[in-house]
Structure formats: structure tokens, C-alpha cells
């Protein structure tokens, strides 16, 4: 059984459009992370989220990105104005207590045309 689920599994959007990717944890956890993986490349850290606040973000996570936990359970990643180079797999992960382990969701494949 997956630790987290992600929706949608695949999102196709036009350049300049906003997208919202969702992560739904199976149980209540405090640590969350977003990563992206461009096809054939390494997994890149975007942002970590602890106790409903951003705790760390990478240089990739610029003003076009934002994260929220609007209803206390779903965890969203918003890209305000998508670019072609945003096409990638986006993975949500939840952290275990102590935060030295992560469990990944199945990912959302984002295609920007």
C-alpha cells in the first residue's frame, strides 16, 4: 500500500498556465518534500515542509513555485506560469519521525507544451 498518493498521475498543460499538483498522505505526517526528475536525469530536491511551514528550498524553487497544505491533509505544489523546462516527473515524499527516511509517492508526470 503506497505511503502517499499523488494526483493527477499525468498533467498536460500549455506554457504559461498554472498547474497544481496534489499529494495525499495516507496517515498524518509532519514532514513532506517535493522533488522533480527530468526524464533521464537525477532526482532534484525542490522543497521541504515541516509542521505546515517551508523548512528548506532549493535554488530551483523560485517565485514560480509555492507549496501549501490548505486543508491540513492534502499537500500541494503550485507552478504559477509553467515553462517548457518544467516538464518532468514531480514526486511528493513524506518523512518518517526523525526525518532520516522518506517514502515517495508514485509521481505526477507534467508535460508542458
Amino acid at each position: 500500500e503506497p505511503e502517499v498518493t499523488q494526483t493527477p498521475s499525468h498533467q498536460v498543460t500549455q506554457m504559461g498556465q498554472e498547474v497544481i499538483l496534489r499529494c495525499v498522505p495516507i496517515s498524518n505526517h509532519l514532514y513532506f518534500y517535493w522533488y522533480r526528475q527530468i526524464l533521464g536525469q537525477k532526482v532534484e530536491f525542490l522543497v521541504s515542509f515541516y509542521n505546515n511551514e517551508i523548512s528548506e528550498k532549493s535554488e530551483i524553487f523560485d517565485d514560480q513555485f509555492s507549496v501549501e497544505r490548505p486543508d491540513g491533509s492534502n499537500f500541494t505544489l503550485k507552478i504559477r506560469s509553467t515553462k517548457l523546462e518544467d516538464s518532468a516527473m514531480y514526486f511528493c515524499a513524506r518523512g518518517a519521525l526523525g526525518a532520516d527516511t522518506q517514502y515517495f509517492g508514485p509521481g505526477t508526470r507534467l508535460t508542458v507544451l
Partner: protein
């Protein structure tokens, strides 16, 4: 510059052979994790090592964390075609528990 260097990048071997994948860094890590990823899917956690010198075994897979906590290795004994996949190491540094660093991965192909 990669914080975690994985080698080799690609490995193609015959079923039954043994192999070792390395994950090296100049930084000290609180813990290192190994994941396996299939195409189009999320990384699946195999193991977490937290103590310098620690050795963990998972069936035919043996994981080791270096004494200085700067490196780790994954050894597979008698590889099978089902072991084919992308193996990733990732770590949490001592000075920042909020960020996981990933290696670039080792793509393993085990031929029957």
C-alpha cells in the same frame, strides 16, 4: 558539483554475477538511504543506514555505511533479471536535516 557521486553510472551484467555500487561524498552524512526506481515510478526505499560502519542485509543485497559516514556501498550477490532498475543513494547531512541530496543513480541491467 555533485554532493553524492555514484559509480558506476551504468552496469550491464549476466544473471548470477555479483556487483557493487558505490556512493561517495566529501561531506559527512547523518544517514544515507538506498532506493530503487523503475521507469515512470517513484523511488522505493530499500534501506537506511545511520551508524558509521553499519552493515545491513536485505536478502541478496548488502548495504554498508562507511566508518566516516561519507560513503556507502550496495553489493548484490547472484544478480537476477528482477534486480534490473535504477539504484539511487540519498543522504541527509549533519548540518541540515531538512534536505535530502540524491546521487545521479546507477542504471543496472541484468541479462538472463
Amino acid at each position: 558539483t555533485q554532493l553524492l557521486e555514484q559509480s558506476p553510472q551504468f552496469l550491464s551484467i549476466q544473471e548470477g554475477e555479483n556487483l557493487t555500487v558505490y556512493c561517495n561524498s566529501s561531506s559527512v552524512f547523518s544517514s544515507l538511504q538506498w532506493y530503487r526506481q523503475e521507469p515512470g515510478e517513484g523511488p522505493v526505499l530499500l534501506v537506511t543506514v545511520v551508524t558509521g560502519g553499519e552493515v545491513k542485509k536485505l536478502k541478496r543485497l548488502t548495504f554498508q555505511f562507511g566508518d566516516a559516514r561519507k560513503d556507502s556501498s550496495l553489493h548484490i550477490t547472484a544478480a537476477q533479471p528482477g534486480d534490473t532498475g535504477l539504484y539511487l543513494c540519498a543522504g541527509v547531512r549533519l548540518d541540515n536535516f531538512n534536505k535530502f541530496y540524491f546521487g545521479s543513480g546507477t542504471k543496472l541491467n541484468v541479462k538472463p
